[in-house]
Structure formats: C-alpha cells, structure tokens
C-alpha cells in the first residue's frame, strides 16, 4: 500500500528542469482550455442546444485553471492537478452541450483528455481527472440523466463507462510516472546519485586523511593507484600514481630490489598468489621509525597495502625484553661478581676489536667467543646478534657493516644498563688505586701469608652453577629433556680473574654436550638409561693443576664419522689420538647442519686454544653407549706472574 502511494505521489522536490517543463505545459494547456468556449459555442449551434448555456459552462470551467495559473505560479504541480479536474469538467460540459444523436460520441473526449493529461508526468493529475469524471457521471446520471445519455441508461451503463475510465487511467498513470522517472526526474536522480557519491568520496577522503595507517592501492605489479592516505605522504613523500611502490618506500638498496622481485613474482602469477603475497617484505625502517607492511588482495587485480608505524610498539617490546634480560643478568652477576666483571671486560675488548678491520676467520672466532660468553651470562640480545653476524660472515664471507655497528650499539646499551643497576645496588663497592692495593697486599702478605693467599681467590662453585644454569636453559630451548646436572667443586678456590678465557671457551664444551651428548627420552629409555640425561661438571686441583671437566651419560662420540670428515679434510685419522685432535680442529663437526647452538666446529677448537694458551691441555674420552668426558687441564700460575698480567687491566668495580 505504501509502495503504491509512493508510486502515485511524486517525491516532493521539484528540480529546475521539472519547474521549467511544467510552466511551459501549463501555459500551453491554459491556451488549449481557452479554445473550449468558442468551440463549445459552435457545438451548441450545431447540436441545437443553448448557446448561452454552452458559453456559460465553458467560462465557469475556466475559473479553476485561471485561479490556479495565476494564483499558484510557484507550485506548477498544483496547477496541473487542477487542470486534471478542469479537463473533465470540460468533457462533462461537451457531453451536456452535445445532446442529441452525437451525445454518446462526445464521450470520446473524456478518453482523449485523460490520455493528454499524461504529459504532466504526474499520476495524481490522472487520478484527479478520473475521480472527477466518475463523480460527474454518477451525479449527473442521478439528477439529470439526459445530461449524459441520450437514452434511458441503466446503472450498469454508467458502470461500463467507469470501467473504461479506470482501465485508461491505470495505463495513463503508468505512462505519467514512467515519463516522470525517466525524463523529468532524470536530472534529479542523477544529481542525487552524484551527491551521494560525492558525499561518500568526501567521507573516504576524510578517513584516508585522518587514519594513522598508510593505505595505498597498488596493481599486482606494484603500480600505485589513485588513492592513498595522507600520512603516507608525510612518511615517504607524496606518492605519484603510476609509479611503483618500492620507488616510494625505498630510495635504494637490497630491500628495494627485494620488493621489486616480490611484486614481479606476484605479477608473474606462476606461484599461488597467497604464497607470493606472503613473501612480500613486511618490515621497513626509515629515519629511525619502524614500519610494518601488510598486503590485502582486492579482487584479482590489485592489492591494498597498509603501512603502520610500529616504532612505539617495537620500542616497548625492546624495553620489556631488555628489562627481563637485565634481571637475569643481574642475578647471575651477583652470584659470580668477579666472573661477571671479567666477562664485561673481555666482552668490551671483543666488541671493540670486532669493529676493527680484520680477517673474516679472526672476526668469526671473536664473534663466536662473544656469543658464548654472552649466552653464559644471559645476555641473549647480544648472543643472538652475534649469531646473526656469524651467519652473515659464513654466508657472504664478510660481515655487513650495519650488523657490526649494531653489535657495538647493542653492547654499549647493555653495558650502560648494567652499570646503572649494579652501580646503584652496590653502594658498598670501593674503588682503590691499583698501586695502593698492591702495596697493602704486599704488607699484609708479609704478616699473614696463608690468609692473604685466600683473599684473591674465590670458590669455583658459582662458575660451576653458571655452567649448570646454562646447560639446563639450553636443553629447554632445544626442546630436549632437561638434564640433571651434578656440580663437584671439590672446594677448589681459584684466583679471581684466572682462567677467564678457559671458562669462556668451556661453554662450547657444555653446548656440545647438551646438543650432541644427550639422547631424547625415548632413545634413553630404549637403551635402559634413566629418562633424564645427566651431566657432571667438575673442578679438581691436582699437582698444581686445575682439572675442569664435563661428562655426560650419552651415546658417546661417533668416532667413525669424525674419521670420515677428518679424512675428507686431509687430516690424520689413523690413531685414537689423531681423531681426538681432529675433533678439536676447526671445521670438524659431528653434524651436517649448523644450529644456533653448535655445529660449526669453532667452539671445541676455541676451548683447545684457550687451554694451550695457558700452558694446558685438552682431552676427550668416550665410551660407546656410556658417555663422553671432556677434560681441560691448566696449570695454576704462580701468584706473582698472574698479578703482573692483571696490572694492565682496571680493577673490578664490583665489591
């Protein structure tokens, strides 16, 4: 019902076009109505009816349109509606005037007029006419039958006339409405749609101008389309339609090439699009800001690229990670202050030397040592970076300068963080001039030799505990059953700073043990061993020599594989001694792949080098199925000699 009403009643707005059109039609129709009085007069004469009545009726019918035309100048549709009524009144007048033999034919005029009324393009005009003619016929038939029929017409005759009117009116309503919709109202429809589109475009532009994310649409080949959000221009400069996305994002460099290749692969369409899109670059760094890039396919023809500034998120993540790391490091540092101070000193030197130009092999060894030491004290950020640098050296022969610079930055940042915390938590720390310290020590040694000998020494237990921590953490990280670690310090006390290089390198032995020496739980159970692997870390003093050992209860060393590789490298592999030497030599690794933890063959050699440098030896014993033991034997240097070597280094600040 409501839809019918909406169809019959035009929407209220009148466009300038409709107003102009109706003004013209209304003017023409008024002239047309004014033709009626003289014509009616002529008909009256011909039909022999009253001339005065004819002119009187015609003039009376003209009252409505005249008032409408001059009174409703600004409401052209109202004029048209009144014209609809007028037209029927004129029809009625004609039938009345045309009494006699032609009276029925005069009825045609109603139908002609209803058809003509369609020119106003307004269904209500037709309805007004139809209602008027219906009322006219019914009333006149009742009160003055000869005014409509020249015979004695029944009610059904009137009804037949009515049915014809209804049928024509329905058709005329359709014609009028369709005329309105498709001709008169067209401008309005187009205008309204354009307006809606403009509004949507304004909305979209407003959104694009105000979102914090950078949006840009690109073709499958990376060509930038016409729309982007403004923030993109502030980050990367104004985009230009038709240029490529990588030209906008990257001024130069590998990343630019990489994105170009990525889009080439997308555009090729040889690989599935989800694969190629997934491999487009997702991270970007520019002017100290970090960006994340996401790609969303739009249909089959393009991608929506969303660039987000994640600088703040990453900074927060980094701060959290640094904080966690610092807590771990501080705990370890407190457990073994002297060792930690020595680690800081050694690492300072290593980092500084990494930044100098040098042979790749030498650099690789330094980075490797730094990686091990950092991991030992829980400085995983630096350890990870070292691993990246190491991979980089292995793959390209020479490290990227950015990575080296990053290592220096990361390390100094870490050192600063540690200094802040340890400085603040160590108010009782005392810095003494080294000469004064030596003087006091010499005096005191003279008075209580035995006691002073112990001053400069510290228990080996904290170091062993660190080894155990490291072994357990590593096993967990590798997804292996966490081994039981037994510590046997045998009350060994060692000069504070002594053997630092050996301790540093010893971590490689631990790593090898955890990585290769422990079978998984199922294998162990099958071999009749307890599910958890077992490591023993041990210090012993014997004949003035420190024995530092680690033993596992794993499968033992696969000597045949070591022999294979030794032979391939041209190393002697005939005797057990040869094989032991081969095991420690660079390049020999018991596995085919390189993991973050071990397998590069550098570590064991570093351990041997560290021991030999202090006049010591290394050895490996292994029993198939029973386990492996790595032993380092280092002479405990006479006190004076050691102190002399210490003089070149600053005194530890830790109390």
């Amino acid at each position: 019902m409501q839809r019918l009403l909406r169809y019959l009643v035009l929407p209220p707005e009148v466009t300038p076009f409709e107003a102009r059109y109706l003004a013209r039609m209304n003017r023409i129709a008024l002239v047309f109505f004014w033709l009626h009085p003289p014509v009616f007069a002529l008909v009256a004469v011909l039909a022999g009816t009253s001339l005065q009545v004819a002119i009187g009726l015609a003039l009376a019918a003209m009252v409505g349109p005249m008032i409408a035309y001059y009174g409703f100048k600004n409401r052209p549709r109202v004029i048209s509606m009144i014209y609809g009524v007028t037209a029927m009144l004129m029809g009625g007048a004609l039938v009345f005037i045309g009494q006699g033999p032609m009276q029925i034919e005069m009825h045609f005029y109603f139908f002609v007029l209803i058809a003509l009324l369609a020119v106003f393009g307004n269904p209500i005009v037709i309805i007004a006419a139809a209602v008027t003619v219906a009322a006219h016929h019914f009333v006149v038939w009742l009160v003055l039958p000869r005014g409509v029929f020249n015979y004695d017409a029944s009610f059904w005759t009137v009804a037949v006339h009515a049915i014809f009117v209804v049928i024509e009116s329905v058709a005329a309503v359709f014609v009028a409405r369709s005329f309105f919709d498709n001709v008169i109202g067209l401008e309005k429809i187009v205008g309204a749609r354009t307006e809606a589109l403009d509004a949507r475009n304004r909305d979209m532009t407003r959104i694009l101008d105000n979102v914090a994310q950078g949006f840009v649409s690109v073709g499958l080949d990376g060509t930038i389309g016409g729309e982007w959000s403004r923030v993109l221009a502030t980050w990367f400069g104004e985009p230009r339609a038709g240029t490529k996305l990588w030209e906008l994002l990257y001024p130069e460099g590998d990343a630019r090439e990489w994105m170009k290749l990525g889009f080439e692969m997308v555009a090729d369409g040889l690989m599935p699009i989800e694969v190629t899109i997934d491999q487009l670059p997702r991270e970007h760094r520019k002017d100290g800001r970090d960006f994340r890039i996401a790609y969303q396919p739009i249909g089959d023809t393009g991608l929506l690229v969303v660039v987000s500034d994640v600088t703040a998120d990453l900074a927060r993540d980094r701060a959290e990670r640094d904080q966690r790391e610092l807590m771990v490091v501080v705990e370890k540092a407190f457990r073994d202050r002297a060792g930690f101070a020595a680690f800081l000193r050694e690492a300072d030197e290593l980092v500084a030397s990494c930044d100098r130009p040098q042979e790749p092999d030498e650099l690789k060894r330094r980075v490797h040592t730094l990686k091990g030491n950092s991991a030992m004290f829980g400085v995983m950020t630096v350890a990870k970076l070292c691993h990246e640098l190491e991979t980089n050296i292995l793959e390209s022969g020479a490290p990227q300068p950015e990575l080296r610079a990053q290592l220096v930055t990361e390390w100094s940042a870490f050192h600063e963080r540690v200094d802040r915390v340890l400085g603040a938590t160590n108010p009782r720390g005392l810095v003494v001039d080294l000469d004064e310290y030596e003087a006091v020590l010499a005096l005191a040694e003279h008075a209580w030799p035995a006691r002073v000998r112990e001053w400069g020494k510290t228990s080996s237990r904290p170091r062993l505990e660190q080894c155990a921590d490291y072994a357990r953490a590593l096993a967990e990280r590798l997804g292996k059953p966490v081994p039981e670690v037994e510590l046997l310090d045998h009350d060994v006390r060692l000069p504070i700073d002594a053997f630092m290089p050996v301790w540093s390198a010893f971590i490689h032995a631990i790593r090898n043990m955890v990585d290769h020496g422990l079978e998984d739980a199922a294998t162990r159970i099958a071999a009749g061993k307890p599910e958890r692997g077992r490591l023993v870390v041990e210090t012993t003093l014997r004949d003035g020599q420190l024995h530092l050992e680690i033993a596992d209860d794993g499968p033992g060393i696969a000597w045949d594989r070591i022999a294979d590789r030794a032979r391939r490298l041209g190393l002697p592999a005939a005797t057990a001694h040869d094989l032991e030497q081969a095991l420690f030599t660079i390049g020999i690794s018991t596995r085919d792949e390189v993991s973050e933890t071990s397998g590069r063959g550098v570590g064991m050699d570093a351990l041997r080098t560290a021991c030999t440098a202090l006049g010591g030896t290394t050895s490996v014993t292994s029993e198939p199925g029973r386990g492996t033991r790595i032993t380092c034997i280092v002479p405990v240097a006479p006190r004076r000699a050691r102190r002399a070597s210490q003089l070149s280094q600053p005194l530890p600040v830790l109390a």
Partner: protein
C-alpha cells in the same frame, strides 16, 4: 603420486620439506647438493625445490646445468632461500626458476606452490 626433488644440504630443511610434501600426498626425493640432484633428476620428477647455497654445486649452477640439458630442462623449479641477496634470485629467475620460498618456510604455502607448479 608426483615425485618432487628436494635439494638442500641441511638435513633439517630436507626433512621438513619432505614431511610437508608427504603429508600433502607427494613423493619427495631428497638430494644433498647440486651434484646429487643432477644424478637423481629425470623425466619422472614433477618438480624441484632447491636451496641456493650448497657445497660442491650450489642451486644457481644446478639451474644452469638443468637449463642446458634438453632432456631435463623445463622441470618447474622453486628456490628455497633466506631473505638475502636479490641478485641470486634474479639469476635463478633467468635460469627458469618459477619463484622462491623464503626460509623458514610455512608448510601450507610450500604445499600450495608445489601443488600449483608440479607437472
């Protein structure tokens, strides 16, 4: 069952690729480097997934050898690579690689690529 040649010197990567392919209904054939791959490649190989850096013979040289041999040229090839040197990729494309998969790879995407490309 389509036979897919998996060429990588790392047993871990080979195992991961083979596992993903087996689960998707392919038959992986493993090769440890370019030399090994040349020995194993023949007309029954539906596709090759290939590492770039390998001892003895790397992926780029392998591609050149394959392209030069009319008997085996035309086998669809996808490179397995770390996000590193774009020049390697450009060279691989010149020698007929259809695309590349970045390591560490996602198994479902690898399978999607193999499914589309295997002949």
């Amino acid at each position: 069952m389509k036979r897919i040649l998996v060429v990588d010197d790392s047993p871990t990567i080979r195992q991961q690729v083979s596992l993903a392919l087996t689960q998707a209904g392919f038959t992986p054939v493993e090769a440890v480097d370019g030399v090994d791959a040349l020995a194993k490649i023949d007309a029954t190989i539906a596709m090759m997934v290939c590492d770039v850096n390998m001892p003895r013979m790397g992926g780029l040289e392998l591609l050149e050898r394959i392209a030069a041999n009319t008997k085996i040229a035309g086998v669809p090839i996808v490179m397995l690579t770390t996000e590193g040197n774009p020049a390697h990729i450009a060279r691989a494309k010149l020698n007929g690689a259809k695309g590349w998969i970045i390591k560490p790879f996602k198994a479902d995407l690898l399978v999607a690529a193999v499914t589309k490309l295997a002949r």
